[in-house]
Structures are given as C-alpha cells and as structure tokens.
C-alpha cells in the first residue's frame, strides 16, 4: 500500500492504532502524549501503550505511573505500561488456557533458557498485548478504544519490534502464536486501521536515520502516517541584521553571540527540513523547540497545539 501522499491529510486520529517511533532522544514519548491528548480532546477514548523499560507518558502528564493496570491520566486519555514478564504470562495463559500448563512450561529452568533463545519472544508478547488492546471490543461489539497510541522503542529496536511478526512467521508457521502473529501483521500492514509515525530532529544522524527508517518501513509494507520534526528553530534574523549587530561593539556582544547561536540552529532546521521533505514523501509536521525548564503537562499541551490542526 502506498503511504499517504502529502496532499491528503493523514487523518491520523481516525485509525485504530498509531505507532510512534524514531531515534532515541527525539521526543517520541512527548509526541505520543501530544497525539493522544489531541485525540482525547476530539472526544475519542485513547489508550497510550508504553513498552520501554520506564514509563514516561504518565510522568509527563504529572500523574502517578500507571504500571500494568490501565489508568486515566486526563479526560479520555488512558495509559498502560506493557512489560515483558507480565505480558508473557498473560499471553501464555491466554494461549495455553491452563495455569498448571503455564507453570510447567514457563516456570521451568530449562524453558527459561529456551525463552531467552527464541528470537524476540519478549517483543512478540509485548506486541501481542498491544494488539490485544487495539482489537478489544466492548460487550456491545464496539471497539473498547477509539485509538491506541503505541510509544514504540527507538529506531533500530523499533524496527525489530514492528517486524517481529514477520520474522517470527518466517521461522514458525504453525501453532496459536503463529496465528496471532498473522492477525497482528495484518493490523500493522492495514493503512485503514494503522499508521506508523516517525519522530526526528533537525540534526544529521537523526534525520538520516528517519530517512532509513521510512524506507525500511516501506520495504516491510508498514503504512506510515506522518513525520514529526521536533525541536525546530525558526530563522529570526536576516543576514544583514546579523552583520550589523556583530559589528555593533561591546554593548551588543552578548546579543550578537546569542543571535549567532540561534541562527546556527535555525540553519540546521532549514537544511534538514528540506532534506527530509525531499527524501520522505510523508506529511511533515514541524514542532518548535520548547524552552521549558522542566518538561511536563504544559509542554505536552504546547506540542499538541502545534500539531493538532494537521492531524
């Protein structure tokens, strides 16, 4: 399936599952929270699934950590922490149905080694859990969540994470796990239900990685939603103004240095935005750099406001 073209708005918030990935430190969790906040404001019931070692979304919204239980962080915005050990247990129980069987198979020393050897079993069960949330329905047969936002791991690992069903199915083709993996695979690959978004920064390595990630996702047939360029500095001074200020003498020395530092970053923003627009045919949403002394609810609020019109 072709990715959304630049002309058509992604209508990201109308999907069942939005996956947010990108290089480490680019602000994936902040963007995940902002996307969820924007959706919740439109009256959608949203669940954010976090899969990294530490929960960040609840922390960003200044709420107690959700842990493995679903908690409401703000109106209509819920979060849950998906951890490998618990996910493994829940998932195995769902598949094997009997607690005793689970104990025999999974709490056995030998099996633990086996589980360590099975490629990406932790990722498989975590993704399985996320998929379960996305597919869950209420008693009346309506989706339990209008939107599930997955705050996925950083690039290299993130791609491993999203291609886990594909890799698994290339090794294992029978059994209940393989069946679920096929369902998962079809959700991730369905552009009507799922879109993967990339978060990046106006710097060389993150920008290049975003381009590579975009291509890899495309190769694996995973439909994409948008590219978020985070931490953008807008040009503020003309070259002429900078020259004048730089020659303005000692009274303007600090100001000239600050203007130089600002414009150096604005140059990078302009250069990498251009590069990304050329290399990645996805809607590009710039998010301005925030000078917040501590990152919290008000920062997520600012980011949500910067992007919500385009969602």
């Amino acid at each position: 399936m072709p990715p959304a073209s630049r002309d058509a708005p992604p209508a990201l918030l109308d999907r069942r599952l939005v996956v947010v990935t990108g290089k480490g430190g680019t602000g994936k969790s902040t963007l995940s929270a902002a996307i969820a906040l924007a959706a919740a404001r439109r009256g959608k019931r949203v669940l954010v699934c976090e899969v990294s070692a530490r929960e960040r979304v609840s922390e960003l919204l200044a709420r107690p950590a959700s842990g493995t239980q679903i908690h409401e962080l703000s109106p209509n915005l819920f979060s849950v922490h998906v951890r490998p050990a618990e996910a493994m247990r829940e998932y195995a129980l769902m598949t094997l149905r009997y607690e005793t069987l689970y104990r025999i198979a999974f709490e056995n020393a030998a099996a633990r080694y086996f589980l360590a050897a099975a490629p990406s079993l932790a990722e498989i069960v975590m993704l399985g859990k996320v998929w379960w949330h996305a597919a869950r329905e209420t008693e009346r047969g309506r989706p339990r969540w209008d939107l599930v936002v997955l705050d996925a791991p950083a690039t290299g690992h993130g791609l491993t994470f999203l291609t886990v069903p594909e890799v698994f199915l290339s090794i294992v083709s029978e059994g209940p796990l393989a069946r679920d993996m096929r369902d998962m695979q079809s959700l991730l690959a369905d552009p009507a239900r799922c879109r993967t978004c990339i978060v990046t920064l106006p710097e060389e390595m993150p920008a290049n990685e975003a381009v590579e990630l975009h291509r890899a996702l495309e190769q694996h047939g995973l439909p994409q939603g948008a590219l978020f360029l985070n931490g953008v500095f807008a040009p503020r001074f003309t070259p002429q103004e900078r020259t004048q200020v730089a020659r303005g003498g000692p009274l303007l020395a600090a100001a000239a240095d600050a203007a130089d530092a600002h414009e150096a970053r604005a140059d990078l923003s302009v250069r990498y935005e251009k590069l990304l627009r050329e290399a990645v045919p996805l809607p590009l949403l710039p998010v301005p750099y925030l000078f917040d002394r501590s990152f919290g609810a008000q920062s997520v609020e600012k980011v949500a406001r910067a992007i919500e019109a385009a969602l």
Partner: protein, 394 residues
C-alpha cells in the same frame, strides 16, 4: 588511574594523561550523544601523538564516513589518507585507520575459527536458527564488538584501538552479553528438554516418549515444532565448541577489565542522557571497572560571557548608539532580547546538568565540548573537538 580526589582539590588531569598507555579505549553512552564523533576525535588525537590508531565504529554518520573515505561494512580497515590530514592543516606523527563492524561476518569468522572441522562450521553457518540468532539476539552486537577488539588487539597491528560501542539504550551489555549468549547455547537443562527431539530423529524413538516431553510438547504448542527442530539441530552442531567460546569470552573480559583498557563515558547535557550516563557508570562499577573519563558533548555556552544588556529597552539604546535601525517586526531589539533569554536558558539548563553529573561522578575527570556552530563531519571538525577536550576547565 591518576588520583583525583573528590571536591576538586587536585587539578583535573589532562585527557592525554588519563589515556596514556591504554591500548583499548571504549566510548560508551546512549545513542545520539555524539559517541561516534568522540571516538573518531580520540583516534585523531592518538594519531597526532604518533600512535598507530584504529577506530572501530558501528554506524558512523554518512557525512563523517564519506569525508574520511570510509568504505561501508566488510570488517575492512581503511587508512585515513594522510592527504586528508594535510588538507585539514594537520600533520599526524602516527597513522589513523577506521573500520566499520560487520556483525554477521564477525560471528561467521568466530564460528569458523572455533569449529573443529570446516564441515562443522558449515553445518552451523547453514542452520536457519543460527542465521537469525547471530544477528537478532539481544547483546549480539556488543559481544561481537568486543570480540573484534580482542582479535585486533591480539594482532599487534595497532598501538591503540578506539571502540565506538553500540548505542545500547537500556543496558550495558558488553561484559555480560557473551556469558548470557553462551549460557543459552550451552545449557544442560535445555539439552535434556530437547534430548527426546534429537534422539527421536537419530534412533527412531517415538517423539515425546520421555516424561520431560510434557514441557517440550507445551513449548511446541506455543511455537510450533519446526523451531524446536532447528534449535535441536543447532545444538548438535555446536556440541563440543562451547569451551573454546567460553575461554575466548573470558579472555575478552580480562582485556577489558585490565589496566590496558579505558572506558570513556560520552553524554550530552540532556537530563535523559545524563541519567543514562550515570547508569552506565554504576553498571561498569559493578563489574569492577572504573570510568576513566567523562566527555559531555554539545554544551550550550552562555551568551552573557560576553558583555552587554539583555533587556529590550537597553538593547534599543545600544542599537541606537551603534547607529543600527531598530527595524523589522517585531523590532530587532525585541528579537535580540528574546533570543538572549532563550540562549541563556539553554546554557543554564546545560550548566546544571554538567554540575550534577560532575557531583555524582566525583573523582572522574570531566571534559566539556561546547555546542559547535556547525556539524562536525571532517578531520578539521574532529581536531576542533580535540582542542576543546584539551582546554582548561571553566
């Protein structure tokens, strides 16, 4: 290690003092902190000082790789052309080489080296599971990076090897990855579980005939039998080779925890990466390894180190004095005032992080590299970083 008491009583040793007589320098830190650039800058530094230096990198930025004339992958070392040094106005007394680690190839070479016969090596290399495991298993990259360093160090071809470690976000896996991976491969319990499967094919025993088979049957329900069969075949092929692997992993560990190796912690001043740097430091300490130095990259400098007012009204007067029209919308004076305040905020946030890091890592010499005005992607830029690393403490 050079004594450096807490509280800054002694002067901070120079980076050259800290790294003198080291043969292996490992740059560790989370992704996106400029680790590759720091590793390359250290290699340039050693080469300038007359050492035959190799930088082993995992995933360099394309512009840096291109500007150094680096070929991609293949585990081949490339000498950085002396002409490039001359063009950058540098005259190294030593030589600099660079290599990009090829994960799959390093595994294959290790298997070939350790296998008793070429046929056995082939059996393993052809196994479907080996092909997945060797590149997909957690810690595999760390294991092979260390293995390569050990091999290169043993070759005696280089005076110093600088390693740009993989961007491990959550765990410091270098020292534990080999043991963990080998544990999985060589595990009696697992052999017992898989035993029936092996025997079944060998001597015609009915599959799952033994009591232990309940475990196996349950696992098979979960993953399918193909996977278990691949695993069993893989283990048969590997039999008898664990000792060799283990011995070698032990030697790698000894090299890295010995006095010839130095671990340099690389970080940026963002709270997240500082937190991770501290985590790395503790993890190293647990393994009895002292952090030799910490490098903080991209530290924003305060514009107020230069003089002048920062309020819009005062700036308007300063502009007037300098006969610069306060034009534009908003006027320059207001934009300058806002920019000054933003840049000062950035500098203050960074300063606090550096101070906190320095306090928590008391005793570890800390070197600051300011945020440079342009991307570093050539020898000149790398040398500029080296000069920052040599600069006095502020």
């Amino acid at each position: 290690m050079i004594p450096f008491p807490a509280g800054g009583l002694a002067r901070r040793p120079s980076l050259d003092e800290v790294l003198a007589r080291r043969r292996v320098v490992c740059c560790v830190g989370s992704g996106g902190v400029g680790k590759t650039t720091t590793a390359a800058a250290l290699a340039v530094r050693f080469a300038m000082a007359g050492k035959r230096t190799l930088v082993l990198t995992i995933d360099p930025a394309r512009r840096l790789a291109n500007s150094l004339g680096l070929q991609s992958l293949g585990n081949r070392e490339t000498r950085i052309d002396p002409q490039l040094f001359r063009a950058a106005g540098l005259a190294p007394r030593g030589e600099m080489y660079a290599m990009m680690l090829d994960l799959k190839l390093t595994w294959d070479e290790l298997v070939q080296r350790q296998a008793p016969t070429p046929e056995r090596a082939r059996q393993i290399l052809d196994n479907r599971l080996y092909q997945k495991l060797s590149t997909a298993m957690a810690g595999s990259l760390e294991y092979m990076a260390m293995e390569k360093v050990y091999e290169l160090n043993g070759s005696g071809r280089f005076d110093v090897i600088v390693l740009d470690t993989p961007p491990t976000a959550s765990a410091l896996d270098f020292l534990h990855a080999p043991a963990r991976i080998l544990d999985v491969l060589d595990n009696d319990a697992m052999r017992i579980v898989l035993g029936p499967m092996l025997k079944a094919s060998r001597i015609g025993l009915k599959l799952f005939a033994l009591p232990i088979s309940l475990v196996l049957r349950t696992l098979a329900r979960f993953t399918g039998q193909d996977f278990l069969r691949d695993l069993a075949q893989f283990m048969v092929a590997f039999e008898g080779m664990y000792e060799g692997f283990k011995q070698r992993a032990g030697q790698v560990k000894r090299l890295l925890s010995g006095s010839e190796a130095a671990f340099v912690l690389v970080t940026s001043p963002s709270p997240l990466t500082v937190e991770e740097a501290l985590f790395f430091h503790r993890a190293l300490k647990t393994d009895g390894i002292a952090t030799a130095a910490v490098v903080v990259n991209r530290v924003q400098r305060d514009p107020h180190r230069f003089g002048g007012p920062d309020a819009a009204a005062a700036l308007r007067e300063a502009l007037q004095l300098a006969q610069i029209p306060d034009g534009g919308n908003p006027p320059i004076s207001e934009r300058l005032s806002r920019t000054l305040s933003e840049q000062a905020t950035l500098a203050d946030l960074d300063r606090r992080q550096v101070e906190a890091l320095s306090r928590k890592l008391s005793g570890v010499p800390l070197y600051v590299v300011p945020r440079l005005r342009r991307d570093v992607h050539d020898l000149q830029g790398l040398w500029q970083i080296d000069e920052c690393l040599s600069a006095a403490e502020e």
